[in-house]
Symmetry: C2
Subunit: 403 residues, 2 copies
């Protein structure tokens, strides 16, 4: 019997630990591994011998882990060398040998799937039998070949709930106001689209929703606000952080300094603030901008039960796939039925997933790029269903902490 | 039998509607009033005949109201004239006569208590028998003569929970980072102080907490961060929006334009952003700033059951006080016992409450003005206890909407 190792990578979500929980439970229960290891801070930590034994987590901590946001094992943003002849690869495979690893599971988004892809390619090259399997997670929901990704349902539920709550808040004063809510999403607007679920009645807020899949026109935006003021006083507008003009200039570039991360992605925020000033200046009404910020990926009180269950199931299924000696693959989620929602799991080629982004289909973006279609609602609604009881201590959520 | 009227005023909270629910239920059940009216948009709307009959709300809507954030009746920020000879007073008392009002209940904070105070003074002047009673609400917890205010418990629970969640989120990467979280509170730091409850272990985040009750020194702040980096990598700092230098300059004044409201209050935000840039420049570490923003006063998923129950009880007690013909008073909340928390209600002189602010006692602010004492924790913990089941539709909270 050999050992299995699991890591977490990229930005955390509210359910990435539920996947870790699924892996830990399934791997420990299977009794097919000598040890179930966790990499600390992903591949970067593992390359420096930073690991832990998941059997050492107490039962109470393990149960708390299922609803703990963040990444229990720690995460990293570490891009593996493109060149498979780079010295990194022999080093990391020596590490695998050192810890007698037969299965490598990696929970993450596009960039983490790039890691799985490269490791599996190198394994093929050197005829290694180690299995490399990706477990999807991202609030962005932008992975291809899977119906959706664990992490999206809870983030969507958070975004829609908060917009709904802010809707009640904005409507208290009897005057014209605009509230602009900025939501995560550089190139894919899934999470912003989910704010359509906040509408309790037909003409409810948000009245305008802008995704990065289409071009944003400031003048059209101002016109749409003026049009909406004819029949509604308090307007909420939801925008993806990545909205851009037709020449590709990000709206946030007009205010903020950009930071470029290790994967070459621009870190962007500030488009809501820019639009706040624009609306204030041009329409002269009271405007507020709200950045939903990191709570989108870590708000435990808004966990979707469906999402938590699917995150755990993806982790469990990855162990099953490892035992079946699958490699170079990612766990994907499918709908068994078009009418009654039920998830099924399978594996897809990780090389077809990594470094690609699945965007919201353009035909789901309606009303001159300001609204979201019923098809999206039908797609997203099952993913936010159910609430989760979080362990509490002293009236506050109790989270698992790595010692 | 005469009529009772209730209004909501000032900034909304997550439980101001629970107080309205308490008033509506108690007044309707008492059968001592011909009609139970609600002012739409407070005294301002009432002066223009904008009212509704609360008996018209369906049972389902009334139950949903108890956990609906915002102000169901609409709110206003309307400052009554200082001069009791102003023509506003005969006008508004003519309105009371027109609608045959015997009791006027007003749910709000300091400024709304100013309205209750002035109306009751004018009533005394003209020998009117109408009762004027204030029902406290404010997330700021800054009203005098009451142990605490409805709205604070839920906001405190929200702030502490979010800080705790962000704590899990910040700890995923193995590098030095600072996260600065800006919390509402111009002059009173109760809500910011409540973030101390987020600590699950002794050296847990937030490592630094700054209230507006003390002066903020930028150099001392940077020194404290450097000191904390010696034993912790990811630091969370919680600051009140109203923190200021020793010459009284607000930190937010250094970046943002100030807006002055009808009551002469400066609207302030941006201190976290300012500090983000300061830390980035001076310490060269990764920094993020987060404004908790309006969700502090409207996040329904973080409702404290204790707070909701007390908000309702305050509303009910106000009806009892009205039936006992009390006037010029505010409902206050006391602790029956120092050891086992149980709330009791009474009335206090509204003239002693209005336009005053209760701040956090300086002896509860410790460690060179960067920490909060155990006494505060003992005070605040009972107020955040218990969760509330919110009615759900389609996986999202269902809120009461005024037709």
């Amino acid at each position: 019997m050999k050992n299995i190792i699991v890591g977490q990578s990229g930005g955390p979500t509210a359910v990435i630990n539920a996947s870790l929980y699924g892996v830990a439970k399934a791997a420990l229960e299977s009794e097919k591994f000598n040890n179930v290891y966790g990499m600390l801070n992903g591949i970067e930590g593992f390359s420096n011998d930073r690991i832990m034994n998941l059997a050492d987590i107490s039962d109470e901590e393990l149960e708390a882990l299922r609803t703990t946001p963040g990444a229990y094992l720690g995460s990293c943003r570490y891009k593996l060398p493109e060149d498979l002849d780079d010295k990194f690869y022999p080093h990391i495979f020596k590490q695998f040998e050192k810890y007698d690893i037969s299965s490598f599971l990696y929970i993450g988004g596009n960039d983490s799937m790039d890691t799985v892809s490269k490791l599996s390619k190198y394994a093929e090259k050197i005829n290694s039998k180690i299995c490399f399997i990706g477990i999807p997670k991202t609030i962005d929901n932008d992975l291809t070949l899977t119906d959706h990704t664990p992490g999206f349902g809870s983030a969507a539920k958070f975004a829609a709930s908060i917009v709904k709550e802010i809707g009640r808040d904005t409507e208290v004063y009897d005057k014209n106001t605009v509230t602009i809510i900025e939501i995560m999403g550089r190139n894919a607007g899934w999470l912003t689209a989910a704010t359509v679920l906040a509408r309790q009645t037909k003409d409810d807020n948000p009245v305008l929703i802008y995704l990065p899949e289409t071009n944003f026109d400031e003048e059209e935006f101002l016109k749409s606000l003026t049009e909406n003021f004819k029949h509604k006083k308090q307007l909420i507008v939801c925008v993806s952080e990545g909205i851009h003009n037709d020449d590709g200039t990000f709206i946030c570039e007009k205010t903020a300094d950009m930071i470029i991360d290790n994967f070459g992605h621009k870190s962007m925020n500030g488009c809501a603030k820019y639009l706040e000033n624009l609306v204030k200046e041009r329409l002269g009404v009271k405007v507020r901008s709200v950045e939903l910020n990191v709570s989108q990926r870590c708000a435990a009180e808004y966990l979707s039960e469906t999402d938590v269950n699917e995150a755990e199931a993806s982790g469990r299924f990855a162990v099953t796939a490892a035992l079946a000696e699958k490699t170079g693959c990612m766990i994907a989620c499918f709908r068994k039925d078009q009418d009654i929602y039920e998830a099924a799991y399978g594996t897809v080629d990780v090389n077809e997933v990594c470094n690609k982004e699945k965007c919201v289909p353009l035909y789901w973006i309606t009303d001159n790029n300001t609204n979201i279609s019923q098809e999206f609602i039908n797609y997203a609604l099952p993913l936010i269903q159910g609430s989760v009881d979080i362990p509490k201590k002293n009236g506050l959520p109790y989270f698992a902490y790595r010692k």
